[in-house]
Amino acid sequence: MPPSASNILDFEKPIAELEAEIEDIKRLTAEQGVDRSEEIAILEQHRDRLMEQIFSRLTPWDKTLLARHPRRPYTLDYVRLLFDDYTELHGDRLFTDDKAMIGGLGTFDGRQVMFVGQQKGRDLKERQFRNFGSAKPEGYRKALRLMKLAEKFGRPIIAFVDTPAADCSVGAESRGISEAIARNLMEMSALKVPIIIAILGEGGSGGALGIGVGNSVLMLEYAIYSVIPPEGCAAILWRDPAKAPEAAAALRITAEDALRLGVIDEVVPEPLGGAHRNPDLTARTLKTAILRNLDELCSMTGDELAAQRYQKFRAMGQFLTMPELAEIDAAAG
């Protein structure tokens, strides 16, 4: 999808304008044969400085928009860039093949792995085909089937997370979207192979977590991970969805926040300007991070892997315990 008015974010506009200018000059150079490379170099420097400037002060809401960027690489883009080759597997063996959840066999740096992940669509037709990346129960059951297959044959699992939320239509409710997510959480916690999670874009609530219980959880720099979409939070708290930017800040949904809160293990840096400006480079960085984690995890036994994963999630949450409470009381007294 090429840049166009409809897929450039507001804060990207100054950059886009500069780039349009640079393109114009380049075109003229080609057409008229006049060497304006010095001018171009200056403009490009200017653009890079501008980008650095803009991206150094992104708000959580800006990052939300980047995570949802219409040109952001999706799961299959990474599958193609990360794997030497791959073979998709389909179906939950129960009801259907959910196009919002893909999965299959991949060769990753010469190793056999199973991948699963939500898949968004690029244009309108594809977006509908992929149900906007919102998987139904059958998607989570398909993912579980594939993950169990990986466990059976001792292969690591890589899960790519990118979903606004699980589907909550009448059909999804009636086929047990809650049951499907709950079962995945339970089963994933006990699988005896390495599980690496890569949060690529939107880490939308239970829909994301439904394939998100891993030994290592990586998150791209401008991805978000949230218990509720900022719009939903704003609507509930302040009865005003327009206050989403405030909610995005209050909810602590950025990769940085997730790392600080201990729910992810590593932030994977994106190229200047975001993953969509250089998918290849993003994939290379991600690949390096996954490989490093995979090497570590592959030295562990199945039981150790399950125990490490359990303890990791067991420890999540923050609260005060009795001694701390006593201290507070003492201080207050």
């Binding site: 809650s178 509720i228 949904i253």
Partner: protein, 288 residues
């Protein structure tokens, strides 16, 4: 459950808690049934386990009421106490809201867990309370569930949980979401040890709780008319869920769709639990 005092709690403190955590019990003598409009005598309603004797509407119950109604008299001992939510996100107004709910309910969080006996069999039991932050699951809620399960694992006891929740505790953000994984992982350990876990889904059981431990019972029971589903009412509204059948997200809808084993009226619940526990427990959890 033909007992005069279905509260079953002797200690003054427990009684006080039970009274406090009952949701929206008006102090007056009379109460109007929200379903059929019948005017009910409050004392009669209590005797009828807070079920409308005309239309069968099941009122919400507080956590301590639930437990009292279910366990053998005077057998409940709370565990996993002394935990209090922090404000890890520095979320606006969160501490004030917690303080208010602590005062009005007498609870330290939206869930109470402990050990008790049911029909003479020792169990771990827990009950969530809608009057505390809408029964939303935050770090303490999750931790209490896990500590309850750990108690069951240590002593090889069955677990019975009354699952009630408006969803995840928004004010604890992503940490709340993680409680879904944390509690479900604990249930996985129960399952691996072949220890029984019975979940009872009561009004309302939605979102993060429904999509985690609540849906993982070996046997799952729902109370009649309970709202049970993935998308909380407001989320579903935002998502514009269409073509809802009349009983959408009700206990009976879940039964039709194969998601719960049975819909059991409150007055039969204790006996049903006793039967199921008898099936699931060969040689575990027999109270001396």
């Amino acid at each position: 459950m033909a007992r005069d005092d279905w509260f079953g709690l002797k200690s003054g403190k427990a009684r006080k808690l039970a009274r406090k955590s009952a949701d929206a019990v008006p102090d007056g003598l009379w109460i109007k049934c929200p379903k059929c409009g019948e005017i009910l005598f409050n004392k009669e309603l209590e005797k009828n386990l807070r079920v409308c004797n005309k239309c069968g509407y099941h009122y919400k119950l507080g956590a301590m009421q639930r437990i009292a109604m279910t366990v053998d008299e005077d057998t409940f001992e709370e565990i996993a106490t002394g935990l209090r939510p922090g404000n890890p996100l520095d979320f606006p107004d969160y501490e004030d809201k917690l303080e208010k709910d602590r005062k009005t309910t007498g609870l330290e969080e939206a869930i109470v867990v402990g050990t008790a006996a049911i029909g003479g069999r020792r169990v771990v039991i827990g009950a969530a309370d809608f009057t505390f932050r809408g029964g939303s699951m935050g770090s303490v809620y999750g931790e209490k569930i896990v500590q309850a399960v750990e108690k069951a694992l240590d002593e090889r006891l069955p677990v019975v949980l009354f699952c009630c929740s408006g969803g995840a505790r928004m004010q604890e953000g992503i940490l709340s979401l993680m409680q879904m994984a944390k509690t479900s992982a604990a249930i996985a350990r129960m399952s691996a040890e072949k220890l029984p876990y019975i979940s009872v889904l009561v009004d309302p059981c939605t979102a993060g709780v429904h999509a985690s431990f609540a849906s993982l019972g070996d046997v799952m029971i729902a109370e009649p008319g309970a709202l049970i589903g993935f998308a909380g009412a407001r989320v579903a509204q935002q998502a514009g869920v269409i073509n809802r059948p009349p009983n959408f997200q009700q206990a009976e809808f879940q039964l039709d769709n194969g998601m719960v084993d049975m819909v059991t009226p409150r007055k039969e619940l204790r006996q049903t639990l006793i039967k199921i526990l008898q099936f699931c427990c060969e040689d575990i959890g027999n109270a001396a």
